[in-house]
Structure formats: structure tokens, C-alpha cells
Symmetry: C2
Subunit: 531 residues, 2 copies
């Protein structure tokens, strides 16, 4: 397609309106680098008028040399009854010295009169004045027409006047916002088209919210209606139900609609970018996130798995590697023996499909699932269970006993945790003890202290995530808990799981699996290096 | 609108294909009752041919008297080269004696020839035979045309023939499936319309998947194109990226498009139904879930909160109570003093807006947020912090010291946890000790043992959820953790939070807050009863 579509990321600005989202200056710089590497054209990075942290950010960002992205500062039109040059918000916008600025103004008559408490004419004048003032300062100016669709439905004539005001004043694009997220896809299409028909030579953007779960589709329908600029946040978080999710929109535009949004080799960094941004944002990326989720190409039903083995196109709408994701076959009670067998083959390729081990392992996994284990996110533990049954496992150490003490000796003193244990490695008994920040850390430290002597490669291993899930919520603090530990050695990541009514025991089980898994992988690597 | 739309829920069948989803027979019965109460017309409840648990379920479901819902059994067309009456899957479908049956068959030529390994003609015959056989048994029959949209794009003539085969055989509806979830909304609209135009008198359904984050919009676009039957799962889970989310689609159809889907007083049970089904499914309902999420009507930005206080329509597309949800103002670093003040008013209504306390509390909350606290989901803790500063708090007990021991005395013995503590209530010193299933449970038990003597109302309190979040994932097991505890007394739910590098200490802080919050609420209730 000849039409060019511009991506405008607002993770660092509108994304921060999302529940639980808060960025340090360092976080923001990390995300800018990631988006620039991917090739996102505009990054709306903050509101210099609202937040001292954002001013610090705009200072620091100048030290970075970006390859592709332009940084955008966000603010509003001048206030009612103030000259633009005297408006503090506008001054702050100019002070941060970005090449591009995005300002929002009101397109819904109700907002002008009832929220801003001004006249419809003054509101138009505020848009004109601010856009033309910023254009006079040689800025690229985007005008976010807030509540455009609601405004259009309420008073289309006035809504169109706000677009005209921005256009006449020289705005580089007029962005139609579905601020409350309540507009239907067919309405978005028709209204965008009406704007395009009325202002032929205008660049139209869309800014959709997800209050009806349709922000992605609404952005796509706006493109159908004439929009060529899409605003969203990278993994979709934002106020209320979030913003249009760019990690979904980018591959749709590129793979399904033929637009050239990012270089195709960059598209394969989509998944890792989304995961990195989730990590920095300290949120869990949903497994079912389109394109980039851990489960986006995960197959569970036996029949589907069989078909995908014949030809992946049978149950996959794209090849997962195009977006840097991968196919997974989930181990579960509805997955058949063929899934288990495909995993067995990685460990014992010599075994035939109808071997007894497939049956035994399938039964064992079901039994553990019944006890509360869940293997879909814990490949490390699954491999260890299989190895134990397949006879491809030898313990790396033996535990004799352990004890953990957590205490607050008096009200003024600090809480402290201590662990002690006896283990045996290669016939040598070792007693170790360690203090830690919390019982699991104390245990972890005591265990490593003993093991690192024998296995120095464990020094690179660290825990990346530690999740606790209460299983039978009716049983209060004595409920069974499932602990999921995600570990990394800086290159690979793996997950292990433990279940117990005792959080320390469940953590211990997952911790031991994590360490053993790493040691097995290292042996495998060494073997590969030999042959 | 005159057109009637039928809702067909497949939470219990297609939903089970989702990662981490598994139902017991009891779970299924609970969900059926919930959907029936809400007024969902069809509940596809399982595949009697694939799973012994499903056969047990279909036996049990006959004991229930449902008001609105019809139970549907799911299966496939007869196998290649088998007579329908001899097909085991078809026999199983009939054996469970439901009034309605849904069968799927292939509409994509590629699937018929490459996956089923049969001829295109035999595939059509399989559809005809199975539908007409089941119609001959007086069943209501839905035909799921698997991969219809992909099939249509590949070979529209053949795809149309499969629809014709089902129609001629008497299918009550032909459901167009976007099985791989890769079809664009405008394609869904056009193809559905083409089917409607070709077969005027047919009832068309849609079954959308969320691989491009557009399953809801695709279902809506199918309705625009002529569909009058929508299949989905109640909170959207399903294979890969999930199915069309009915808890989103129902309010869109009813509130935005004017269809009468459920009784309007039932619509206000939408949120509680979605939360109940999440609970039974043991998944966390996303805060940003449209309509029903905890954050769907949560406002964080100070300017937005001010506008919503003036008129909620400014930043809300519907009135939250219509779907049984509620408006929330989030306490956070970007929320201004007005949010804090609106909370203060609930405790100390006599204080003016510019009081010193607002400033002190705002500062204190920011400081704690900096330490890793997050208050957006922890109203209980926020209220206690405010009360302490406002002087509306008196401790219910005083802790002197505590100690927790977790130990595995030998490899064969069971892990055990013990807690002991000294506390003072009303000047009386008490020492208690308890064994528990895990350290937190032991602590909880020891604390209650002492407190229930003085506050018997604590007996009704139990923990509903216990979440642990590792804050600085770079620091492994010694990272700071945030513990979020959700408690209930059977009527109300409240959440409290604790942060520490030690999971036991963080849990302790949240546990104590939870108990104190409950005791305060009880005093408030008693006061209200007096005045």
C-alpha cells in the first residue's frame, strides 16, 4: 500500500494513567530506547507542565541519540482568558525543547461549556491560538481533538469547527480521540470518513480507548476511514480499560493490511519489546496478549495439537516467529499423550510413541495437577519430572534437614530471618547457615553457600519472579499455595513450581527444581560442545 | 430494534482450551447456575465424547431446573467413512439427552483435504448426514462452520457449499467461525453479509477468536453484517488469545445498540457474574476488563477526577451501576489532593478542603509508595493510614514480639511451622503459640487465638486471596516483596497491603491491617445502629 501510517506511542504519557503504572526517569529512558530500536516514529514521553519528574526526563533524554523516534511533549491548549505566550503550560511545553508537541483541546461542546466553563467561540480561539503559536516556534504540532466522536454525535457541526480551527492554524495532524472509549467500530469508520471527506488534504489520527474492548479494532476501522496516524500505548495499559494496544496494531497493519510500519527484521523483536516494556512497567504481560503473549501460540487441545503438527496454518493465523514469539504445546489434562510424547522426545529420542513411559508420565502429571500443580508455565519442573521417570536424572545434592526462623525479637528491633541446613554432595556432609531478607532468601542463600563450592556456575543464576497463588481460597492462610519461580542466568529463563500448604516448603521445592534444571542444562551444553 | 440476538456461552467448553483453565463438575454446575440466573440463552457445557468428567456433568445437570438457559452438548460431524448412526461421537452426543446440540465441521477446503485427509464431497456429506440425523432425533442443531472466514477467503464457493449443506439438512443456525482469529473486522462484516445475501432465510451465528485483539469487534461487525447468534466465553478465556468476551459483548449490544439481551435489572448483575465466574475459574479478572473490571471506571488523573466530579459523563461512556460496577478514584502519585480529600471526608467530614491533614496524608502516601506500597487495590490500608494521621484510630492490641519457625526435621518427616507471640490487649499480656500450615497461617492462628477472646466477631473473617509481588526482580529472593491480602467476613471484601524484604513481615503488616480494618468497620456499624 502506498499510504503511510505513523505510529505514535503514548506509553510514557497516557499509559501512566493506568492503574498501578508509575515510571522512574530511568524506566522512561529504558522504554524510549526500546521503542526507538523497534522503529516507532513518535514517542509521547510526558507532560512537562504537570510533573517535576517529567522535566527531569526531558533534560536527560537530550543526552540520548535516537535513530528513528522523535520525542513528543504533551500538554493542553492555553487556558481560558490567557494569552498563549503567557500560559504556563505552553511555556513548559516549549521549555523542554522537543521538535514535536501534542496538545489536546475540546471538541465536544458539552466539555467546553460544562467542564471548561467557557464559550464555544473562546474554545475555538484557544485551539487556533495555541496551534499557531507553537507552529510559529517551528514545532511539529499534533492536535488531539479530545472526545471528538462523542462531540460529533452530539453536535457534529461544532466538532467539525474544532478540526477546522486546528487545521487552519497549521496542525500537522488532527487526532480524533474516542476519549471515553464508547464508540462503535462502524461509527468510528463513518465519522473518520466524514472528516476525511470534509477536509481532503488533512492528516487524520486516531486515539482510541478500550472501554468496550474494541480500541484495536476502532483504530483499524479509523484507518479504513482515512486515518494515517495511530496513537496508543505499547502494551495497551492506560486509564480505566486502557488505550489502543500498539503491540497488537503494528503486526495487524504490517502482516494483515500490507503497510510498512517497521522493518520486517525489527518486527521479530515485537515480542521481546513487549516483554521488556512489561518488565520495566512492573506489570505481568497477559499470557493471552495477541501476538506477544506467552500463550498467543499455545495449543492445548489434543486434536488441535495433532493438526498443528501436520500444518501450523491449521490453527495459527500467522507464523509466530514473524513477531518473535514461539509455538508451545501445553501439558494439561485435556492435552493428550502426543503432547507428552513430543516433550519426551527431547529427552529420550530413542523411545517409541507407544512406550509405557508416556503413559506413566501422563498419569503422574495428572496426579500432580490434581494436587494443585500447574505445569503450563513451568517447563523446568515438567522436564525434571520426566527425567526422574525416564531415568535421565541424578540428584545433585541430598538434603538431610533444614530449619528457618523468622522473628521480631522486640517491637523496636528489625525482623530477621535465619536458615540452617544439612546437605550431602558427593558423600560429603555440609552444614550451612545464612541470614536472609526473608525466609526464602535465607534458605536460598544457605543452599547456594553449600552448592556453589561444587557448582560455581550457579553464581550467575538469579530469581526474576516469584509468584504465590492461594489455591483453595476458602481455607484462608492455611490454604494450599502454589509458588512459581522464574529464574535466569542472564541468557535463558526457566520456570519451576512447588505446591504445599506451607509457603516455605512450596518455595523450597521450586527453588531446588530451579537449581537442578540449570545444572542439567549446563551438562547438556557441555555435551553439545563435545560432539 | 426488532432483530433478536441469541447469546451462546461456551465458557465450559471452548473456555477450557484456555491456558490454566480446568473445571471440576461442581465448578461447572456453579457456572451454569450463574449464567442461567443472568439469563444467557444457550450454555455449551462440554464435549461428552472427549471427557469422562463431562459425562458425569451431563448426568448431574439434569437434576437442576434452569429458568432461562438451554444446555448444549458439543461434538463434531461423523467421522470419515462411518455411518452417522454408528459414529461413537454422535452416539455420545445423543446419550447425554440435551435438547440442543452443536456440531462443528470443516468449511475450509484445506482442512478437509489436508487435516481430515478426505475429499471435498465426503466432507459435505459428513455435514449433511450428521445435521439431518440429529434433526431426525428432534434436536435443535447448531452447525459451527469451523474456519469459515479463512475458508471463504481461500475458496468461497466451497465454503458456501458447506453452509448450504448444513442449511439443507435443517440446521437451526449456521455459525461462521473465525477459528484462528486472523480475520479483520471489515472482512467479517463483508463475508457475513455475503452469506446473509446468499441465504436470505438462514440464521447466522458468529464465533470469533481474539488472536488480533478484535474478537469483540468482530462479533459486533458480524451482527452488522446479519448475524443474530453470538458465541463466546463469559470472560473471554479460551485457546491461545481467547474467545469473544460475552461480558463485553452483552452490554455493548444492550446499551449501545439497543438490543434486548437480558432483563435490564439482570444487566446490573453483569459485574458480579463475571467476578464469580473468574473466582470459580481460579483466574484473576483483569482490572482493565471492559465494563466488569475493578478499574473499568477508575479515575487516576487529577484533572479527570475533577471533571468526573462535575459530571461523570465527561469521562465515563456509561453509568457504571448499569452493569453493577462502580466508580473509583485511585490514590496515586498522579492523583491530586482532591482525591485524598474525598477519602478524608468519609472519615472526618468536618475537615475543610484546604486542611493541613490533606497535605500530610498525601505526603505520607507518596513516601510509602516510594517504598514499594501500592494503594490502588488496598483501600483497607489507606483508611488505616488516614485514620492514624486524623487521630481516628486506637490500636486494638499491642505486639511485644513474635517468632516463626519452619522446619523439616528430617527428610522423611513433614515440614512444619510454628508461631509464638506476646501481645497486650487492654493491659492484659497474653502469650500464644500455634502450629500452622505454613508460617503465615501459624502467625494468623496465634494472633486470632489471642484476639478472638476479646473480639469474637473476628471468627467470621477469612482470607480470600493472598498475593505476593516481587518488587525489584533484580535482587532475587532478597528482593522487596509486596503482600496483598484480601479478606472477607462473608458480606464485605477488603484489601490490605504490606511491604518488606521479608515475606513474613510483609504478611504480618497486611494481616494486622486486615484485622484492625474489620474491627473499625464493626464499630462503625454499631454506631450507625444506634443513631
Amino acid at each position: 500500500m502506498n499510504k503511510k501510517i505513523t505510529i505514535f506511542d503514548s506509553t510514557l504519557r497516557d499509559g501512566v494513567q493506568g492503574q498501578g503504572i508509575s515510571f522512574s526517569v530511568e524506566d522512561k529512558l529504558k522504554i524510549v530506547k526500546c521503542l526507538d530500536k523497534l522503529g516507532v516514529e513518535y514517542i509521547e514521553a510526558g507532560n512537562p507542565g504537570s510533573n517535576p519528574k517529567d522535566i527531569e526526563f526531558f533534560k536527560r533524554i537530550k543526552e540520548l541519540t535516537l535513530k528513528k523516534s522523535k520525542i513528543v511533549a504533551f500538554g493542553s491548549t492555553r487556558r481560558v482568558g490567557v494569552e498563549t505566550k503567557d500560559d504556563n503550560n505552553v511555556k513548559n511545553l516549549l521549555a523542554v525543547e522537543t521538535d514535536a508537541i501534542c496538545i489536546f483541546g475540546k471538541s465536544w461542546d458539552f466539555h467546553a461549556t460544562e467542564i471548561l466553563k467557557t464559550t464555544l467561540d473562546e474554545n475555538l480561539q484557544m485551539i487556533k491560538d495555541t496551534v499557531s503559536y507553537l507552529k510559529g516556534k517551528n514545532k511539529q504540532v499534533f492536535f488531539d481533538a479530545e472526545h471528538f466522536f462523542d462531540g460529533y454525535k452530539n453536535n457534529s457541526e461544532y466538532a467539525m469547527k474544532t478540526v477546522e480551527a486546528a487545521k487552519e492554524a497549521g496542525a500537522d495532524a488532527v487526532v480524533l480521540c474516542d476519549t471515553n472509549g464508547g464508540t462503535l467500530p462502524q461509527e468510528i469508520y463513518e465519522i473518520t470518513k466524514a472528516v476525511q471527506d470534509a477536509f481532503k488534504d488533512i492528516s487524520i489520527g486516531v486515539h482510541a480507548h478500550n472501554d468496550m474492548g474494541m480500541a484495536v479494532a476502532n483504530s483499524i476501522m479509523a484507518v479504513e476511514g482515512g486515518a494515517n496516524h495511530i496513537q496508543g500505548t505499547f502494551i495497551g495499559f492506560g486509564e480505566r480499560c486502557g488505550n489502543a494496544n500498539l503491540s497488537t496494531i503494528i503486526p495487524i497493519l504490517q502482516l494483515k493490511m500490507g503497510f510498512n510500519i517497521v522493518d520486517s527484521e525489527k518486527l521479530s523483536e515485537l515480542t521481546s519489546s513487549a516483554r521488556f516494556i512489561s518488565e520495566v512497567s512492573n506489570i505481568t504481560l497477559n499470557d493471552d496478549a495477541p501476538f506477544v503473549g506467552n500463550g498467543a501460540f499455545a495449543h492445548k487441545g489434543g486434536m488441535h495439537i495433532d493438526a498443528v503438527c501436520k500444518d501450523p496454518v491449521s490453527y495459527e493465523h500467522i507464523e509466530p516467529t514473524l513477531v518473535g514469539n514461539k509455538r508451545r504445546f501445553l501439558i494439561s489434562e485435556v492435552s493428550g499423550k502426543s503432547t507428552v510424547y513430543s516433550q519426551i522426545q527431547k529427552i529420550s529420542p530413542e523411545l517409541p510413541k507407544d512406550c509405557e513411559e508416556t503413559k506413566i508420565i501422563t498419569e503422574r502429571l495428572k496426579e500432580l495437577e490434581f494436587q494443585g500443580y500447574q505445569f503450563e508455565g513451568a517447563e523446568g519442573t515438567v522436564e525434571l519430572i520426566m527425567r526422574k521417570i525416564l531415568g535421565k536424572y541424578k540428584p545433585f545434592f541430598e538434603l538431610i534437614d533444614f530449619k528457618v526462623i523468622g522473628e521480631q525479637p522486640s517491637l523496636d528491633s528489625n525482623f530477621k530471618s535465619t536458615a540452617m541446613m544439612h546437605i550431602v554432595v558427593d558423600g560429603k556432609k555440609e552444614m550451612t547457615a545464612a541470614e536472609g531478607e526473608g525466609p526464602i532468601n535465607a534458605l536460598d542463600k544457605a543452599l547456594r553457600k553449600a552448592l556453589e563450592v561444587f557448582y560455581p556456575e550457579l553464581q550467575s543464576v538469579r530469581l526474576v519472579d516469584y509468584k504465590v497463588r492461594v489455591l483453595d481460597t476458602g481455607c484462608a492462610t492455611k490454604a494450599k499455595v502454589r509458588v512459581l519461580i522464574e529464574s535466569t542466568d542472564g541468557e535463558e529463563k526457566w520456570s519451576t513450581v512447588g505446591v504445599s500448604t506451607d509457603i516455605i516448603e512450596a518455595s523450597w521445592v521450586a527453588l531446588v527444581d530451579s537449581i537442578e534444571y540449570k545444572l542439567i542444562k549446563n551438562i547438556e551444553k557441555k555435551l553439545k560442545a563435545y560432539f
